[in-house]
Amino acid sequence: MAGTDPIHQFVIEDMFPLFTLGGDGTAGSGLSFAFTNSALFMVATVAIIGLYLILSTGSKSVIPGRAQLLSELVYGFVANMVRSAAGTAGMTFFPLVFSLFTFIFVANMLGMVPYFFTVTSHIIVTFALSMLVFLTVIIYGFYKNGPKFLKLFVPAGVPGYILPIVAPIEFISFMSRPISLSVRLFGNILAGHITLKVFTGFIVTMGSLGFLGILGSALPLIMAVALTGLEFLVGAVQAYVFAVLTCMYLNDAIHPSH
């Protein structure tokens, strides 16, 4: 009954190995790189986004068709998000936020197709994306504001005698951002896919128990249908949340004294 194993969907399989760094030449030693099913869906995600946006805007028509209108709506949606959270200065990071939002969104939606691999269900991917945001905030923050960037940990209007308590709290909350950002996305997608798989597994196991089992399997079926809808919502909302939080963190780098 490997078909009902809820963990199997997250297994990464090498489609063809590429090269190995270090190690002593024996199998399993060193860092081995390969083209995996995860890599395939990353490539598919980027290909879908890139091809859609570039092909749909190819005619550059003043009066947009449906395809071009969708591209323009996504552009306007993310642009408004960046502008309202990080101001006009934040538009420097518009391509980054746009790439993050579309990448996570399309990866989540692809993951909803049965037998497809969900790129964002792996902590290393979400952690790498959130570290990208985190390091961008730190590097740009110091580059733009110099030592004034440390004002981020000293909220304005706080009396001096509370600062020894407030500043460490601010610092810890800042340092925990990449973890919360990555675990939120990873956890939502992972838990959602496992739950979905468990409930659909119930349908199969109950269905094999005879007539009463087939009748009873209607309950997990209803749950699975409802959860599928919920998972589409979660996939979209998590992409939005990741992008909005990115904008707010970037706002800290641009205007540190909040």
Partner: protein
């Protein structure tokens, strides 16, 4: 590790599946503790006895391909797609602004044309009224002059006729004396005999008094 059991046991009883989401929530305190299991795994499929999302053996490949694909996406977006969409939106905004400005200018032109038309109309009306007044006055003056001329002519003719009547009357009156004299002379000569004309005339004149 609770999760190791899942991949190893191919046939998992249905009732144990319920625990799966709970089990994944259990903290994997130290993923590096799994590495010994991973390194022992024999190539091919990475660490089949580790919960896949926490299998460090898959990290290099995932990071490599994430870097390649996300980098490619960022380049595609920042160099091609986003400038193009931004250009489309700006171009549309420029065209709309220009069209609105042109429409505004046309509207102002129309307003000006209407105002000019109304001014011209008012002037034309005033002019027409002036011309009408002028011509009416001219006609009235002409009429008055003609009427007075005709009246003067008529009165002249009347007085002339009156004068002529007076002359005729006077003349006729003088003829009356002669007729009376002749008549009287004839009558007297028939009755009495010849009488001198002068004496008759004197007698007529006497009778007239």
């Amino acid at each position: 590790m609770a999760t190791q059991a899942y991949a190893q046991e191919a046939a998992v009883p249905a009732e144990e599946l319920v625990e799966a989401p709970v089990a994944t929530d259990a903290p994997h305190a130290d993923p590096t503790a799994d590495t010994h299991a991973t390194t022992e795994a024999s190539g091919g499929e990475h660490g089949s006895d580790v919960f896949p999302p926490f299998d460090p053996a898959t990290f290099p490949s995932q990071l490599l391909w994430l870097a390649i694909t996300f980098g490619a996406l960022y380049l595609l977006m920042s160099k091609i797609a986003l400038p193009r969409i931004g250009g489309i939106l700006e171009n549309r905004k420029a065209i709309m602004d220009a069209d609105l400005a042109a429409a505004d200018a046309s509207r102002q032109q129309t307003d000006a044309a209407i105002a000019a038309y109304e001014a011209a109309l008012a002037a034309a009306k005033a002019k027409a009224q002036g011309i009408a007044n002028e011509s009416r006055e001219a006609i009235q003056a002409d009429l008055a002059a003609k009427r007075s001329a005709v009246e003067a002519d008529l009165s002249a003719k009347v007085s002339e006729a009156e004068a002529r009547i007076l002359v005729t009357k006077t003349e006729a009156l003088t003829h009356v004396d002669e007729i009376a004299t002749e008549t009287a002379q004839t009558v007297v000569s028939q009755l009495v005999g010849d009488v001198s004309a002068d004496s008759v005339r004197a007698a007529v004149a006497k009778a007239k008094e």
